[in-house]
């Protein structure tokens, strides 16, 4: 009994209210500090709902050819966004494409930066030869433009969803490695790491319990920005005809024939691009706002 009272005395009252109160509050603070960032969050939220719910509410089968006449204009008849060159429903295809775009964007960028992040931790913590070797790898990977390295990987492997994920993840490794290494170098010099070492904590314990959490904020900033880059890369590969093979609908693939069909069906060319732009816009704006909010030195700049 007595023990209970003393613990509740010491606990910060805001902490006892639980996550359901704390997280909305810090989110509200984030929105006040960065209105543009909250617009980004809103768009991401809407796109996620679209990706999850979209396939169930899509009026037609996105892969079925000839559900309507070819090149039907938008807003007329049964096809809200019109139909494409094979008479497929554009709205259904856009809804299904949302899932692929967001999934590839999030998974590929997370995988790539996570591998890079682990490299960065090792590089910054152990330094010396480990650092020298890993940094050379990072330098080399950094020399490839993301899209071009992805194209080379796709050329070498077969064309499938897994290949696409690998092809987009690999070019992101150096970006994760750089930011985590830089942060690790700073934290490694801090007193609490020294204290942890002094009481005999193992290397792994220091890295995982004391250094990695400190790297999380800058890592999240970089990751959020890169999700947008991953989405744009996925759609660029789809546009070039190197993405997930048809008939799977993706936003990029929908645009690949758009130039030829421009005169018959401008809607087919306009709609997927609007969604790609929105997705990339929301993630890059969110990344910028996170940086502003988390790094007080940069506050007030774009």
């Amino acid at each position: 009994m007595a023990a209970e009272i003393s613990t509740s005395d010491r606990t910060d009252p805001t902490l006892t209210r639980g996550a359901w109160v704390r997280y909305p509050r810090s989110f509200a603070r984030f929105c006040r500090r960065s209105p543009l960032g909250s617009v980004g969050v809103g768009i991401i939220f809407a796109l996620c709902i679209m990706a999850v719910v979209g396939p169930y509410v899509a009026p037609y089968d996105p892969e079925e050819i000839g559900v309507g006449p070819k090149y039907q204009s938008p807003f007329v008849g049964d096809f809200f966004l019109g139909t494409d060159r094979l008479g497929r429903d554009v709205l259904s295809r856009v809804l299904h494409g949302a899932w692929i775009s967001l999934m590839v964007g999030v998974v590929a960028s997370t995988a790539g930066t996570l591998i890079g992040g682990l490299m960065g931790l090792a590089s910054g913590y152990w330094g010396g030869k480990v650092d020298a070797v890993l940094q050379r790898i990072v330098d080399v990977l950094m020399a490839f433009p993301v899209l071009i390295l992805a194209m080379a990987l796709i050329a070498a492997l077969d064309r499938s969803l897994n290949t696409l994920l690998i092809a987009i993840a690999v070019p992101f490794i150096p970006y994760g490695a750089r930011v985590v290494r830089a942060t690790t170098l700073v934290i490694n010099e801090s007193q609490y790491v020294e204290a942890a070492r002094a009481i005999g904590a193992s290397d792994w314990r220091v890295i995982l319990r004391h250094i990695a959490p400190g790297c999380l904020a800058p890592y999240m900033v970089v990751l959020t920005g890169l999700v947008g880059v991953a989405i744009i890369t996925e759609s660029a590969l789809g546009f070039l005809g190197l993405g997930i093979p048809p008939p799977t609908p993706t936003w990029g693939e929908m645009l690949s024939k758009a130039v030829e069909d421009l005169f018959f069906a401008p809607g087919v060319a306009i709609v997927p691009g609007v969604f790609i732009t929105l997705a990339v816009f929301s993630f890059s704006v969110l990344g910028d706002s996170l940086r502003d909010v988390l790094d007080p030195r940069l506050r007030g700049r774009t």
Binding site: A143, F144, L147, I148, A155, A156, A236, L262, R301
Partner: protein, 316 residues
């Protein structure tokens, strides 16, 4: 300065070797080979073996790697293309080079001519409606996919001006206006991202400087506002902009590939895409290496410019 250049040069060499090794490994895991691509799936095993021997595909990897590197250093012909038989890879790459160079140069001109002034206006008039407009303009520029912007520009051209894309590329030295007519919109398409990028960098770095003490001093001694902004502000503000030159080159090269596809230009981007489709691995490996080498050299130049502009860097 000489020492600094020598050090940076020495660091670029292992990077280039690493780049070539990675490309070589990626291409080595590629299924099928040139012999198969050339003869088709139905070829009999003995002929396949013979062609492989002829092309040296049965040699150990280090011999093949050595040959490739030697060919590149000595500007050898780099072998024959798979999909356009009888044409060497060197001549294919040389043939497609001018279009890409042309596009890149125009894009860089657009980017510098618009990016720096727009960023300056945005910073000087910050938090005004001009600034808000320019900031939205640059955020959009960073989000719009290059290929979609190109498609939209073509759509606008076709609907309003009845413009039709030109098929054959004309050198600017031959017929400047004809070249301009063809390359203007691709350069704008690719340039928008770069303009947005430079404008944003210029704005934020000029904003930092605008309230420095030496700016106040310059104003206090009665210099005109324009002189203060340009001579004292912008000259210092462009240094951070120069340092991200490497990132811009990366974005530019990736953008070149898709822009060429949208506008049907026959440059390196188109060549790379067709190489990937045709599994022409000798072509892809060399072309990818050239792209990466451009980035490495670009970074080198960026670092040197940075050291030249900011003497503190040289002595670190």
């Amino acid at each position: 300065m000489k020492q600094y250049i020598a050090r940076r040069l020495a660091m670029a060499v292992p990077t280039l070797i690493g780049v070539s090794l990675i490309i070589f490994v990626i291409m080595a895991i590629m299924p099928g080979d040139v012999a198969l691509a050339r003869l088709g799936e139905a070829a009999n095993p003995e002929t396949l073996q013979m062609v492989r021997d002829q092309l040296g595909l049965n040699d150990p990897w280090y011999q093949r790697y050595g040959r490739w590197v030697k060919e590149m250093i000595t500007f050898g012909d780099l072998g024959e293309s798979v999909f356009r038989q009888g044409i060497t890879i060197r001549s294919l790459i040389a043939e497609h080079f001018p279009v890409t160079l042309n596009l890149a140069v125009y894009t860089m001109i657009v980017a510098t001519l618009l990016g720096v002034p727009l960023g300056t206006i945005s910073a000087v008039r910050h938090n005004s409606w001009v600034d808000y407009f320019l900031r939205i303009f640059s955020i959009v520029g960073l989000s719009v996919p290059v290929f979609w912007l190109g498609i939209m520009l073509i759509l606008a051209q076709v609907t309003w001006f009845g413009w039709s894309p030109q098929v054959q590329w004309v050198s600017p030295f031959e017929d400047f206006w004809s070249n301009m007519k063809q390359m203007f919109w691709p350069a704008i398409t690719l340039g928008y991202f770069q303009v947005a990028f430079i404008a944003r960098m210029t704005r934020s770095s000029l904003l930092d400087i605008l309230y420095e003490d030496y700016m106040r001093t310059a104003r206090a001694k009665g210099l005109r506002e324009r002189t203060v902004t340009i001579r004292h502000g912008l000259r210092n503000a462009v240094i951070p902009v120069v340092t991200v030159g490497g990132l811009q080159i990366i974005a530019l090269l990736g953008g070149v590939v898709v822009t060429e596809r949208v506008f049907n230009l026959t440059g390196w981007g188109t060549l790379l895409v067709s190489g990937v489709f045709n599994r022409d691995f000798a072509l892809v490996q060399t072309l990818v290496f050239i792209f990466a080498a451009i980035v490495v050299v670009g970074n080198l130049i960026t670092d040197m410019l940075y050291a030249w502009l900011d003497p503190r860097i040289r002595y670190q």
